[in-house]
């Protein structure tokens, strides 16, 4: 970080730096304020209680599953949106990105009417003996719903930025579409894919509204860390603050790991900043 700061970055007006500092403190100050409220004497017992560990473990598992689902579904979506043209594409893109602006509770209600017991698809699932509501699957679906646009958005942008020149060359040399995708397109946009996946994971980890509305809240099954924090706040604010801190630390670690992974591959965020 320090080596990069010395790079010749002249010409930033002083007022820009001033506003940037105000912006940074706006984000950092509330976190500091929260840390000042942590009851350190009780911290370890609070975060190692059975319900806390269950919630953390469930959050990590479901967020990872949701991220995998986002990659599996989101990469083809981004490629189709970036590389093809068809009637109604703009409308489709706006619809796909809708969960970004939709209040998560609305997403939860929509999922309920789709996968719920009396929902559009849920009724058929029920006939096969598959129940989604109140299950861990419901949590993963809710998280995927809200996190998917992050992956599609960042990947589609990257696909448009790198352009189609290399892909065209590959194709003229006789590579099939799948080979071009695997050997040229995906390696080119790998940094964006990683950062998109990290964003999706972070969004899934913080997901609250859709889970609460759609999946319910039961220890070890559907009560993720944000739901546990919300519930603990009712009776034990100390536990809520301690768990909030855990969530913040997990989020910071995830972002740091992704950052490292990106830089080691030589295609990380740092490289992109220089270009």
């Amino acid at each position: 970080m320090s080596s990069r700061r010395s790079s010749p970055y002249a010409g930033v007006p002083g007022w820009v730096v001033a506003v940037a500092i105000v912006g940074a403190s706006f984000v950092v100050l509330p976190l500091v304020a929260m840390i000042t409220r942590v009851n350190w004497g009780e911290f370890i017992p609070l975060i190692t209680s059975e319900s806390s560990v269950d919630a953390l473990w469930l959050s990590l598992r479901t967020s990872l599953a949701a991220t995998a689902l986002c990659v599996v579904l989101g990469v083809p979506m981004a490629i189709v949106l970036a590389r093809t043209e068809f009637w109604g594409q703009k409308i489709l893109r706006s619809l796909v990105l809708l969960p970004l602006v939709l209040p998560p509770v609305v997403g939860g209600i929509a999922l309920l009417y789709t996968f719920g017991r009396r929902g559009l698809l849920g009724q058929s699932f029920e006939a096969f003996g598959v129940t989604i509501a109140f299950s861990t699957t419901a949590v993963v679906l809710a998280q995927t719903f809200v996190a998917l646009p992050f992956l599609v958005l960042s990947l589609e942008g990257a696909l448009r930025t790198v352009g189609t020149r290399y892909e065209a060359v590959g194709a003229t040399l006789g590579a099939r579409p799948t080979t071009v995708l695997r050997r040229i397109t995906l390696p080119l946009v790998l940094p964006a894919l990683i950062s998109g996946a990290v964003l999706s994971f972070a969004r899934a980890l913080g997901e609250f509204g859709a889970t609460l509305t759609f999946a319910g809240s039961l220890q070890g099954v559907t009560r993720t860390l944000p739901l546990e924090i919300y519930l603990q706040r009712e009776t034990d604010p100390d536990a809520a603050v301690a768990l909030s801190l855990v969530l913040v630390v997990v989020a910071v670690i995830v972002v740091a790991i992704a950052h490292q992974a990106g830089e080691r591959n030589g295609v990380g965020f740092g490289r992109r900043r220089d270009s």
Binding site: F134, L212, A215, Y230, T235
Partner: protein, 271 residues
């Protein structure tokens, strides 16, 4: 470049407007009661504004009572803030400008009397509430009694033990010896009702007033054992109130004939 400047200016302007608005409203609320309190000590000429913090389950009744109170005392404006009782306690503890606090249980009222934000001697019980079974209108699982909720195929949603309706559920379970295995423990009555109304759950346990307020979306099934967990609603003026006369008048209104009538019509019991 010019565009960026415009955005920055707009952002700064917005921030300053907010700051000014905060100053203005703060000034108004602290001035108004001061000027009214001095010249008119008689209760007949109440003036100013009071803010009532009331439990979420009181939303419809207190909205009606506030309108009626304002009609009876044209000089007084009643501002209402509804949320879960523990949320309201947190807000008042953090300095929110409440004049009256109406809690859904004695435990949350005690949190404020313990720290001296409310005088321990003043809270008055003004209503009671008991649990009722809520089922979808068609009652798909054929629930008829509290014991039916323990049937393995019946999907039951209850409140988590941390919130008042969940604490009441635990009490009833202990008193009846029936152990429920719910599919979900929600953090609010609304979430329980939502799952029952949508048909996701076969039954839920909420307060009788919640079932009444939900209208046709759910059906209520009363059960005898509900008497094991009677929730008592206390109300009190916040010690720091700037308008104690109006605050007390509102409390008297709630505990008086009109207030008790409105509360009884919504399904509340008398303490």
């Amino acid at each position: 470049m010019r565009r960026r400047t415009t955005i920055a200016t707009a952002a700064m302007a917005a921030a300053m407007t907010l700051a000014l608005a905060a100053c203005a409203s703060g000034g108004a609320s602290s001035d108004a009661p001061a000027t009214t309190a001095a010249p008119s000590p008689s209760a007949a000429a109440l003036e100013g504004s009071i803010t009532v913090y009331a439990a979420a389950s009181l939303t419809s009744t207190f909205t009606e009572l506030a309108t009626r109170f304002e009609a009876a005392h044209p000089g007084v404006t009643v501002e209402l803030n509804f949320a879960g009782s523990s949320d309201l306690v947190t807000q008042i503890t953090e300095g929110a400008p409440a004049d009256v606090f109406a809690s859904a249980d004695e435990k949350n009222m005690a949190k404020l009397t313990d720290v001296g934000l409310i005088d321990a001697a003043v809270p008055v019980d003004f209503a009671t509430n008991v649990l009722q079974i809520a089922v979808p209108p068609t009652n798909p699982a054929g629930v008829a009694s509290f014991a039916d909720l323990a049937e393995p195929d019946t999907k039951v949603v209850i409140c988590a033990a941390q919130v008042p309706c969940g604490a009441a559920t635990v009490k009833v379970e202990e008193a009846t010896g029936v152990t429920l295995s719910p599919v979900s423990e929600e953090s609010s009555v609304t979430d329980v009702l939502g799952k029952v109304a949508s048909g996701e759950a076969d039954a839920g346990l909420v307060y009788v007033t919640d079932v009444a307020a939900a209208g046709d979306t759910v059906r209520g099934i009363a059960f005898d054992e509900s008497g094991e967990a009677v929730n008592v609603y206390p109300i009190a003026p916040v010690t720091a109130t700037k308008n104690p006369d109006a605050a007390q008048a509102f409390i008297d209104f709630v505990t008086g004939g009109v207030g008790q009538g409105v509360l009884a019509a919504a399904g509340f019991g008398t303490p």
